[in-house]
Symmetry: C2
Subunit: 262 residues, 2 copies
């Protein structure tokens, strides 16, 4: 890339200009996986950037697609991406209490085929959208969604990369690592009680044996859900927001996108 082109690219990626002038269009998008009706959320800038652009799929946390994921989608749209939040659970299924949310997340975590199918259904919507450059698509996910995007990679999906934010990293079939042909970035709270050292080691071994292009970043002092603004700040609960880890992980994600969407 020439200096000027590179500079313009950086200005876009780092949002110096876009942040000041971008206008984000958002809309709910109904789609289906077989007979199941799903409702995702689309976000893109329609002021500065014209035409096709890289696409980013966002997979939600255990309570289903909500305000948190929509806000992240808008932040990504401001960076110049065409963004689609998938709906794993189904239209209107948005469990608000931990018990129901946990039960639903478990349902999909214990049925990886179904989880893969649902993430891929969302990926199809994003790839077919007129503003998406289908050769430059990535997926990110938070907590439950982090597990989901790594599972998307394990399904052999044709994406450039996946980013897990404090996701569970376990796999019931570690041999599926061999299906991964995208880059993997796992962003992990070093004090996350939801991911045991054994699970971490198994994840690393899976990536290693399958010769995946992977990176794992550990954030000191961060527990589960470190990017979740409303998770409080009491690390002793095992779930807390951590501003440093949140901001750093976002920057690392942007660098990763800069690399895979070059």
């Amino acid at each position: 890339m020439g200096d000027m082109k590179r500079l313009l690219f950086l200005m876009m990626v780092f949002g110096c200009v876009a942040a000041a002038r971008a206008q984000v269009h958002t809309e709910a998008v109904e789609y289906k996986d077989g007979d199941t009706v799903l409702e995702g959320y689309l976000a893109y800038d329609d002021a500065i950037i014209k035409g096709k652009r890289p696409g980013v799929l966002v997979v939600h946390q255990w309570k289903g697609l909500g305000d948190y994921e929509k806000k992240r989608a808008e932040m990504l749209a401001m960076l110049g991406y065409n963004v689609f939040c998938v709906d794993i659970y189904g239209k209107g299924i948005r469990p608000q209490d931990p018990k129901s949310a946990g039960a639903l997340a478990s349902k999909y975590k214990s049925n990886r085929e179904l989880l893969r199918e649902r993430v891929n259904a969302g990926l199809e919507v994003l790839k077919k959208h007129e503003l998406t450059d289908p050769k430059r698509v990535a997926a990110i996910g938070y907590c439950f969604g982090g597990t989901a995007v790594i599972e998307l990679a394990r399904s052999g999906a044709d994406v450039a990369g996946v980013v897990s934010f404090h996701g569970g990293l376990d796999s019931p079939r570690s041999e599926d690592g061999k299906n991964i042909h995208c880059k993997v970035l796992a962003l992990h709270g070093a004090d996350d009680p939801n991911v045991s050292n054994r699970e971490l080691a198994a994840f690393e071994d899976e990536m290693r044996h399958a010769k995946v292009d992977w990176q794992l970043i550990k954030f000191g002092g961060a527990v589960h859900a470190f990017t979740q603004w409303d998770a409080g700040n009491d690390n002793s609960k095992g779930v807390a927001y951590n501003e440093k880890a949140d901001k750093r992980s976002w920057e690392y994600m942007k660098l990763f996108f800069g690399e895979i969407f070059h």
Copy 2:
């Protein structure tokens, strides 16, 4: 930061403009630690940037200060920093064969007080230099030098941050972690045979218990010396260059500097 200021900062940090026009001044600098004569290497841009700027200390590998560290210093100077490569071993002491290099590295690794003294002697030179803003100083090191910069942090040195590239992370006195009051970034090859899982875990525990602001980044597929251009590409030797891990770790370092030198 305002948008324009932020943009100019990014332009500097990412070297879009500086890389095209910077002129790097370099010189050997003789200095002392007690009666021991040392010879470091200074590098800074004298074309674009005027006056004081953040300082970066560079600590060499096991063979002592050589062409590799000088090249890194020039790369850092192009990014706008005032850079000083320390000399731990002494003027003219540059062991070229692995046996002598290993013996010297071991001498300092087994005498952490002396190692700290030598790194701090270099830090003083950098901090007192007229082009250094002494409140914005970091240290980076490669292999042996990675160990050295973490030891610098453990000495309680007043620096904003330290970055270890494939350094050994062990400490003979883990309680010294409590002296650390700078940010720590450890860049690590996930297949580095020189650092055992036990050593990694002990490092994490040291950082955790001392409540250090730390991050550890693991690069999949990378072994020891992954940034060392002339280390070959045979991972089975346990020492090899890895272009992806090299470039990514450099970008992570730049982000880290962007944060600590804000």
